[in-house]
Amino acid sequence: LRSAWNDTPIKWYPIPVGLGIAYLGFKHYSTVMERERQIAEQDYDPNDPNNKNRRVRPSGPWQVQILSTLPLKALSRVWGKFNEIPLPVIFRPFGFKLYAYIFGVNISEAKNQDLKSYRNLAEFFYRELDPAVRPIDSSSAVVSPSDGKVLMLGEVREGGRVENVKGMTYSLDALLSGQGEEKSASSNPASPAVLFSQAGEGTTKATAPGGQVVDSHEAFAKMNGISYTVGELFSGTEKTAQKAEDQSLPTGDIKQDVAAAVGPKAVNWFRNQVEGSKRLYFAVIYLAPGDYHRFHSPTEWVVETRRHFAGELFSVSPYLQAIMPSLFILNERVVLLGRWKHGFFSMTPVGATNVGSIVLNFDRELRTNSLTKDTKADSLKGHGYAEAHYQLASKLLGGHPLRRGEEMGGFRLG
């Protein structure tokens, strides 16, 4: 053995690169599987044997399983860094025109037509448009926040579930607040309709615009010393008139009296609660790689809260959305919650592998697709998102006001 050990010459041979890559792939795959196993063990809650409130996991066919083993966020960051490499000036016009040809970009709409001035693809990707080519419709209630394709739209069904089209099914609560399946749709307590539901059966309370808490079925106008029920208020003067005789209430056209007594704002509010009930509506807009990637405000609203979920960065192509339920709940996203004239309003930009960085012009603190700050903060807090409030932006409005068509931010490469 000693002579074999000493006398055998050592020769070095190159191993095939593919073998090396396969080894790294296997190593990463086993690490991910081990981590999932540990998480599963930690996640198990004896009080919740069916794991109803467990974190959502990627589920779907074999493509999804393979994707979920890839280091998507790391790939996205590398992709971002790669696209920030300055390009040679002489190559830029040709390169960007080739990109425009492949992805259908209309360069003539860009605000800055000098292609040599874009130092790299990341800058060209985040180009601005000439405002004249995107007139903002002023007569509608909601306009499109960006260029793209409407993948889904409709009304949110009972239980907060978004309508199931081509496999895109997810719970509203999980999307906006990361809570589990069984939560009710009333994730935003400030909405009047939600107030009604929160009080439980039979005893509903409502907060009138003036801030007084009243029972919606008893006396709405108590706050001004006049005793009217909601039903009497709007269901017809006959019934009310009788009651009036009983309780010596004023007769005649009671609506005018009420409006004068409590003010038009309160009347409008209750008319909405009784005559025009509210519904939750939703729309999903997909931005293709060649689309203009800045997003704008779809209406006049006030953003009150921002919730940043540092999730995964699966591709959000329509194909993957169709085979991967709850994709939007898994991906990195920034949920903006606020209100508009009809009540609750939210807008959620969802990142993807190639565009993992979501930027908000009015929120300098937000850092998405960042290895350091966000993910650690979230895990420390344990509820999966980093929250910020914009009350300081405007004390009077309680949030950051946005006008229809106003640029809010955008998606950057990587």
Partner: protein, 37 residues
Amino acid sequence: STIVLVFEAPEGKDGKGFKWIVDKGKTVKMGEAMGVV
């Protein structure tokens, strides 16, 4: 990337309330009308 809008609006019935004026699958431009009340 994708943008999801979820909002509360008056129920669309009898010609009143909120109504979408675009369809699924339609390509939209930023600022284009999507829904009316």
